[in-house]
């Protein structure tokens, strides 16, 4: 079965759909966590600490977090590898372009590949900035996420990178969620409108929720 899936374009799309849904579910949890920043450093930092102690005493300190990280890294790699292989195939399948070209599908649909690349680069920066602190502006303090977030969004480039990436995320989810439903065979004529609405609402809520944090820092609501 694994061979059948990996050798087929339909199978690779299935891998993309499943890994996409895993990442999407994580993002929903992530945005809810982020919004706690509006309730002060104590609540936000406490939440950050709790993430490391989830599942105790069954799980050791940080075990659950690492489990989530491994699953997520797997999903990101699977999603990117399939996207790369399928894109190469797609470009090869249409080697010569039309002289006369009509405007194509929606903006979200046309920007899936570039949007995906932007998001991939963003994830690298985001982890180096706020998880490891390698490229963090100012002194990165492990265990003090509130201050770290404020530091990042006190720089102009921190805000630009983040907001651009979150807009790309919204567009990616808008086409991606609906497409995943089609790939997994759960779409139908009757459900089409509902699926498109859910995709739009998810895209809008996640983008707005994530962007609220840098906007909060910029306007001084979070400081």
């Amino acid at each position: 079965m694994a061979r059948t899936v990996w050798d087929s374009t339909v199978g690779k799309k299935t891998v993309m759909a499943v890994s996409g849904v895993i990442m999407l579910m994580y993002l929903v949890a992530h945005v809810i966590g982020n919004l706690k920043i509006f309730f002060g450093p104590e609540e936000f930092n406490h939440y950050g600490h709790w993430l490391r102690t989830v599942g105790e005493p069954f799980m050791h300190y940080e075990w659950t977090l690492w489990l989530i990280r491994v699953v997520l890294a797997g999903a990101v790699v699977a999603h990117a590898v399939c996207a790369y292989q399928l894109s190469r195939r797609d470009i090869k399948a249409r080697p010569s372009k039309y002289v006369h070209r009509k405007p194509q599908a929606s903006y979200a649909t046309r920007t899936m590949r570039w949007g995906g690349i932007i998001l991939g680069l963003f994830i690298v920066w985001h982890v180096l900035d706020l998880t490891t602190g390698t490229v963090h502006s100012g002194g990165f303090q492990a265990g003090h996420p509130y201050q770290n977030v404020v530091d990042t969004f006190s720089t102009w480039y921190g805000n630009v990178i983040y907001i651009v990436a979150m807009l790309a995320l919204g567009l990616h989810i808008r086409h991606g969620f609906w497409s995943a439903a089609q790939t997994l065979g759960v779409g139908s004529r009757a459900r089409d409108r509902a699926l498109k609405t859910i995709a739009d609402v998810l895209a809008l809520l996640l983008t707005a929720g994530f962007i609220a944090v840098p906007v909060g820092v910029m306007t001084g609501v979070v400081s």
Binding site: M1, V10, T14, R94, M112, S179, V186
Partner: protein, 249 residues
């Protein structure tokens, strides 16, 4: 009507092609697009030039032979085949660009003619039933629910012209393949090969060098027979079901 045509001219599969410009006059708005090309070819023959090669057969919109990308749209601006497109869809003085289907799986043979044998090989991989056929059976011998019959008919409308591939930015043949699979997979006559059909036809589609689906929906917009985009969803569902079953064996 007086028109300026910019037509893709290419000597053979290996030669480089280019757009050539021609002027045609005396076109009636009641002519079909192919009749307009006939007038152009008569002009070219009389002036000692090579006529433009293009595929056509029934000229009734049912055979799927015609294959022109007109002003960047497969089969032109109306939802029909190029042979059933009439010149009333254009204005006097228009410049019209005419190109062949473009996909690596459909190599250009000459001018506007492409080789669509890749579709035949997809059909050979599973687009048939092994049940005995012969003369028409008694109508109630094999009951088919109304909804299933409608579903099968909708997909059986596909004439295999390849407009879906031509319109797809990835040169994918998903809409064609899904129409052929769904048509047979829903019927009792197609049930014995339900799993092998979808697995084999999708595998053949991939090996022909068609691209993958990114659900842009361009195929369904271009389809002269109105095969819906959700047809691809139904095929994906069939494929996943078959892959799961094959894994258990």
């Amino acid at each position: 009507m007086k028109l300026t045509l910019r037509v893709w001219r290419q000597k053979n599969a290996d030669a480089d092609g280019a757009m050539s410009t021609y002027a045609v006059d005396g076109i009636s708005s009641d002519m079909s697009f192919l009749e307009m090309l006939d007038i152009l070819n008569e002009q070219l023959i009389l002036s000692g030039e090579e006529p433009v090669a293009f595929d056509h057969d029934c000229r009734e919109g049912i055979c799927g032979a015609c294959s022109l990308v007109i002003n960047g749209e497969a089969h032109g601006p109306e939802r029909t085949t190029a042979c059933q497109l009439h010149m009333r869809s254009f204005q006097d003085g228009d410049t019209i660009d005419i190109e062949p289907w473009r996909a690596s799986a459909f190599p250009v043979i000459r001018d506007l003619v492409v080789d669509r044998s890749a579709f035949d090989r997809i059909i050979q991989a599973g687009g048939y039933v092994t049940a005995p056929t012969g003369s028409a059976p008694e109508a109630h011998a094999t009951p088919v629910p109304k909804a299933d019959a409608d579903f099968a008919f909708e997909h059986a409308e596909c004439i295999g012209c390849g407009a879906c591939v031509a319109a797809c930015p990835n040169g994918a043949a998903m809409l064609f393949t899904s129409a052929k699979i769904n048509h047979l997979n829903v019927l009792p006559q197609g049930a014995p090969e339900r799993e092998t059909r979808v697995l084999d036809m999708v595998a053949q589609m991939d090996s022909e060098g068609f691209g993958g689906c990114t659900l842009t929906g361009e195929c369904a917009t271009a389809c002269p027979k109105g095969i819906p985009l959700v047809s691809i969803t139904s095929m994906n569902k069939e494929w996943l079901r078959a892959a799961r079953k094959a894994g258990k064996r």
